[in-house]
Amino acid sequence: MSSRAFFEVVEPGLETCVQELPGRIGHWEQGFPPSGPADAWSFRLANLLVGNDREAAALECQFLGPTLRMLEDGVIALTGAEMMPRLDGAPVALWQSISVRRGQVLATGGGPTGARMYIAFSGGIDTPPVLGSRATFHMAGVGGADGFAIKAGQMLPVGTAAPHVMAHQVDAGLRPQIETGKVVTVEVVPGPNDDWLGAEGVAAFLAANWTVLAQSNRTGMRLKGPAISFAPRAYDKLPEHGQDPSNILDHGYPIGGINIAGQTPIILLQDAPSTGGFVNPFTVPSAALWKLGQIRPGQQIRFLPVTLDEAHEMRRRQDRICTAAQALKPL
């Protein structure tokens, strides 16, 4: 291993954590969720800008970013939400490669729009993988920097960087466009349990604006809106399904599932529980999950139904964009 301490945490920010793609795969049946970045589009672009594989481990900053002191020369890149980054006091831009020198301090703060910024380092963060991944699962203290968000005083290593990292930027048209207005449109595929709402319940759910509550985090995004109505089958069921119309016999929970707990929709995010006893009438497709990663409490979501084929096409388009050949141009 040629990994070396690359930066020291001066200020950790708010729950700043190491994430990696595709996340922790293969242990979901024992209750370990995939984890991974909330906005995988921005995350992958940050890695490409520093010459890494697009899935390499990098930092996810949430609402309030960290301050880091560089311990080596190298290349970094910032993408996602604007959090007022400064290098030794001078503002630096997102969406481009940035050369850093040993001793320089990257300071970030809070921003007016979006929720998550990514910081990638040439070589990729090289903390020890746990159950096959470096992704942090805070709730159980698994992966990342000793299991949790980064802490002041920690020194984090990176792996071997590509020999010559050319300075690049991401074409403005290929960056995710973070919605700054009141209402964010988020695609959903009906299912797996849309039949528990029935045609009327589905139509009413899709016609509403849903306000994002502050009680949201990497496990789930809580929403507030009108009353949810259910189909007759939600009431006429065997007792092992539970008493509430939103209850179903315990089943697996998909990432992106819109989980109905009583009358509260909770969108299941990357650190969500693996199973539970509430229905999931809709699922946000993988290519739209990044939007959830950038929504702020108080913004509203309007759900737009798409077909499974459209969801696959959205993912393929995003996968094509997130390649060095497509996304990068010389700076």
Partner: protein, 287 residues
């Protein structure tokens, strides 16, 4: 009921919910595990992982390698050949968990809830009343009698849903309402007809009445049982609870803290559905 054919529901572009029925029963759950074993053995390219549950499973797939329709066709085919009922034989480890019944930590937790939230009937007494048991010693004897089947895991890392394999030991209880804000790590509880072991100090809703000193998950992977994973159980394992006294509890806890405790795991057995059904019918004719 158990459906004639699996039902498939898309859950976005990466997951599929497969329902095999809509009831909580052992025969349905073992059909889920038999199908999961068949899917794993088939090693289909593009199938990433499975979450088997009570009556269903979630399949993660990579649609750039296998199409939705191909997943459903392959799974239907595997189900038709794997679910020939009595022929099901699954690898099944037997894990023994030492348990102190009516331990002081659960008692303190129940007392705390009754003082702060609502003056409910104490959990062991509620279980006795709802299941027509003579008292705590009857509850302990009955709960420790059967082998339990790990029907599913999840919600929290390592949290297991256990079904008694002996129908005479079936105990039922409602969940706490409102839920508890904390539960002692290692507490044993019953909710619905399911026994669980709390992997950590977490909120909870099951009626609690016992505690094990043995960890069932360990993020630091200190003990030998956690070399391969952070969680002890896998779906399809069997569990047996062995009642212990307080001095034994303290001794085992000491071994755990020293990092030298070895879990009792027997991994040379198979679970045979045919033999199990024969045993069940002998029970019925005796009754």
């Amino acid at each position: 009921m158990i459906y004639e054919k699996p039902r498939f529901y898309p859950a976005g572009d990466r997951f599929i919910e497969v329902e095999l029925g809509n009831e909580m029963s052992f025969s349905l759950n073992i059909a889920v595990h038999a199908l999961a074993a068949a899917i794993r053995a088939a090693a289909l390219p593009g199938i990433i992982e499975l979450i088997p549950e009570m009556a269903s499973m979630q399949i993660s797939y990579d649609a750039d390698r296998i199409a939705f329709d191909d997943v459903t066709r392959e799974v239907e085919r595997l189900y038709a050949s794997a679910s020939a009922g009595d022929e099901i034989e699954l690898d099944s480890r037997l894990i023994t968990i030492p348990v102190l019944y009516f331990d002081p930590w659960c008692e303190a937790c129940i007392a705390d809830y009754r003082r702060r939230v609502t003056d409910k009937t104490e959990d062991p007494e509620l279980l006795c009343a709802l299941n027509n048991l003579a008292g705590r010693s009857h509850l302990k004897r009955l709960h420790a009698a059967p082998e339990y089947w790990v029907a599913a895991l999840g919600f929290w890392p390592g949290l297991c849903s256990l079904m008694p394999l002996d129908p005479r030991a079936r105990l039922v209880a409602p969940k706490y309402n409102p839920p508890r804000s904390w539960t002692p790590k290692g507490a044993i509880g019953i909710g619905g007809a399911i026994t669980c072991i709390y992997p950590d100090r977490t909120p909870g809703g099951y009626q609690i009445f016992a505690r094990t000193p043995v960890p069932i998950w360990d993020r630091e992977q200190k003990l030998p049982a956690f070399r391969e994973s952070l969680a002890l159980f896998r779906p399809g394992d069997r569990v047996r609870f062995i009642p212990i006294e307080r001095d034994e509890y303290d001794y085992i806890e000491g071994k755990v803290n020293e990092g030298v405790y070895e879990h009792s795991v027997v991994d040379y057995q198979k679970f045979s559905m045919a033999n199990y059904r024969r045993w069940l019918s002998r029970l019925e004719s005796a009754a």
